[in-house]
Point group: C2
Chain length 190, copies 2
Amino acid sequence: MENLHKRILEEGQALSETVLKVDSFLNHQVDAELMYEMGTYFKNYFEKHKVTKIFTIESSGIAPAVMTAMQMNLPMVTLKKQSSKTLNGDVYQTRVHSFTKNSDYELTLSKKYIDKNDNILVIDDFLANGEAALGAARLIEEAGASVAGIGIVIEKSFQKGAEMLKDKGYDVYSLARIAKLSKGEIEFIK
Amino acid sequence: MENLHKRILEEGQALSETVLKVDSFLNHQVDAELMYEMGTYFKNYFEKHKVTKIFTIESSGIAPAVMTAMQMNLPMVTLKKQSSKTLNGDVYQTRVHSFTKNSDYELTLSKKYIDKNDNILVIDDFLANGEAALGAARLIEEAGASVAGIGIVIEKSFQKGAEMLKDKGYDVYSLARIAKLSKGEIEFIK
């Protein structure tokens, strides 16, 4: 996605070999028009799978996901990050490790918003080690539903997530794929 | 906003005299088309103030805020909820008490995304005691900028927030105003 590549190059800050800060248009300040365009790309790529619902993970995935949901005319569900297990039977939960924050959270989904006929597109802002996307896929499959695909805004292709998810058979589509980060430098996969 | 009233009556669950659950279209599952319509209402009401930016509070305010930002052609900023003070000078922070969760958090804004000429519209999903909206206003004013107004999806008018914010001179506009909740019953302000 050309406009995204451009913004990453102009505004992204490679803080280290693994950390890319894009808080001027995606993670803190948000460019709504760019989010809409991301939605168009996700729609164009994923409309071949009969998607029934879009899932995202709070909170930076919400903006691109809601723009995709609108254009695909589908409901969206935000998976919540909770600090501890909920003690009732109304939810699915799975533990996810965040390498960024070096802590765990319980990804949580109300049983009301999924059923076994669902074919779900997962959208998230970043893909690095793939823990969050894999957690979302676990919840979906635990409910007996299917993962239609995984749509990512920025894939750090030098980390293991994308390959791991593809190895498991998921259709992963990323709007920007980063080959290499080093202090002050950002290189895309050609 | 008629479609919102309709959805609240059809799908909202009054769990007590203060708790209204609307997680089928706003807080967990999200109806993107309805969020877009909310954005149209906010735009129509607030375009009289020269708004320069939209702020929201993570995470349920993001969907209506990004839809408003797109239609008003403005940047949006998501204020982050952090559990503790950040020890650097690059951010504004203010402590907010959540009555829902009975805990405090540090509402956080990078200094890069505000300046004293900004006139900011704050959008959030719920207004009850007004702590979150007031916290956002404090951050904005601490930066020397102005609050253009406060746009709320669902106002619980029987709690003190709306009146308190209006008393302080803020232009508060809510898409649905609830006069009374009781178990199984929801009453709007006429």
